[in-house]
C-alpha cells in the first residue's frame, strides 16, 4: 500500500534517516568488538535506508510505501524514480531489506560482508535523499 505524502512527512522521514545512520555509526564506533553489535548496527542501517527511500519517493512521486504490499512494493516504487537514479537505488534498498530479517528477527548474525554492503547501501540512499 502507498500513502500520499506531504512535506512534513518527507521532512520527518529525512530526520529519521539521518538519525538512524548516525546512530549506526556511533554504535559501531563505541563497540570494543564490532561483531558483538553487528546486528544492531545493520538493523539501524536498514531503518536509515527505508526512511531515505521514503523521502525520495515522497519528493519524486508524491507517495511512499507504508507496507502491506511486501518488501517488493517499496523497491518497485523507488525504481520508478528517475531523479535520482531509482533503478540503482532500488537495488540498494533491496539489499537492505534482504538482510533486515536476519539482522533483526532471527538467531543468526549477519556477516562482516553483509554489514559492509548494508552500510554502503544505506549511505547511498541517505545521500541521495539529502541531495534532493
Amino acid at each position: 500500500m502507498t500513502r500520499r505524502c506531504e512535506e512534513t512527512i518527507a521532512a520527518g522521514r529525512m530526520k529519521k534517516a539521518n538519525q538512524f545512520l548516525e546512530a549506526a555509526e556511533t554504535v559501531g564506533d563505541l563497540a570494543d568488538d564490532e561483531a558483538e553489535v553487528r546486528d544492531a548496527v545493520v538493523t539501524l542501517l536498514v531503518h536509515a535506508g527505508i526512511a531515505a527511500a521514503d523521502v525520495i519517493c515522497c519528493k519524486a512521486l508524491g507517495q511512499y510505501s507504508i507496507g502491506g504490499g511486501g518488501h517488493d512494493e517499496a523497491v518497485r516504487l523507488l525504481a520508478r524514480v528517475k531523479q535520482p537514479d531509482g533503478t540503482e537505488l532500488s537495488k540498494r534498498l533491496g539489499q537492505l531489506l534482504g538482510v533486515k530479517t536476519k539482522a533483526g528477527y532471527t538467531y543468526r548474525s549477519v556477516t562482516a560482508a553483509e554489514r559492509k554492503t548494508a552500510r554502503r547501501a544505506a549511505e547511498n540512499l541517505v545521500k541521495a535523499a539529502r541531495d534532493l
Binding site: K15, E25, K59, A60, G62, V81, K82, Q83, P84
Partner: protein, 205 residues
Amino acid sequence: MDFRRPLRVVTPTLEGDVLRVMAGADAEFTGGEVHRLVEHGSRDGVRDALDRLVDQGVVLCRPAGRAHLYRFNREHVAAPWIEGLAGVRQQLLERLRSEIEGWAVQPVAAAVFGSVARGEAGPESDLDVFLVRPASADEDTGWDEQVAALAAAVTRWTGNDARPLEFREDELAAGAGDEPVLRDVLEHGIEIGGSLRALRRRVRI
C-alpha cells in the same frame, strides 16, 4: 538560477516546473498529482501546461475513466536535455564535491546549508557554503585562494552569489553545536567535503 525550479533557466512558464516533476519519475500522474508536486500555480494552470506539453509530444496522455493520466515521454528527442535540466541541483552538488576534492588543503567539513539545503531557495538566493578550516591552514597555504576560487566558480555555474561561512577548527569546541548557524548546518546541511559526522561529534554538548 532558481534552485527549486531548475528549468526556469530556459523557460519562466509553468511548463518548466511541470517538466521537472514529469522527468523525475517513470510514472503516470493525474493532473492533481502533478499540481501537488509542482507546489505552485493553479490546478487548471498545471492541467493547461500538461496539455500544451502533450501537444509537443514530450508528455503522453491516456484516459483512465473520467481522469487523464500523464507520463513523461523518454523516447522524445528532447527528453535527455529535459532530464539533464531537471537534475541540475544534484549536478551542482556533485560539481562542488569534485571541486573541493581537488583542493590541496582539505576542509575538516564542508556543506551547503541555509535556504538551498532546506529547499526554500529562490532565484535570488545566495548559495551558503559552510567550511571548517583546518588548524594547519595558515595564510600561506593557499586556503583563502581556494575558497575564493570556489565562490567565483559558483557564480559562474549558477549566476547566484556564493556566501562562504568559515569556522576555524579551534572554534568548534564541545557545546558549539548550540550556535544557531551550526545547528542549521548539522540539521539540514548537505555534505560536500570532509565529514559532517565528525563535526557533529566534536560539537556535541
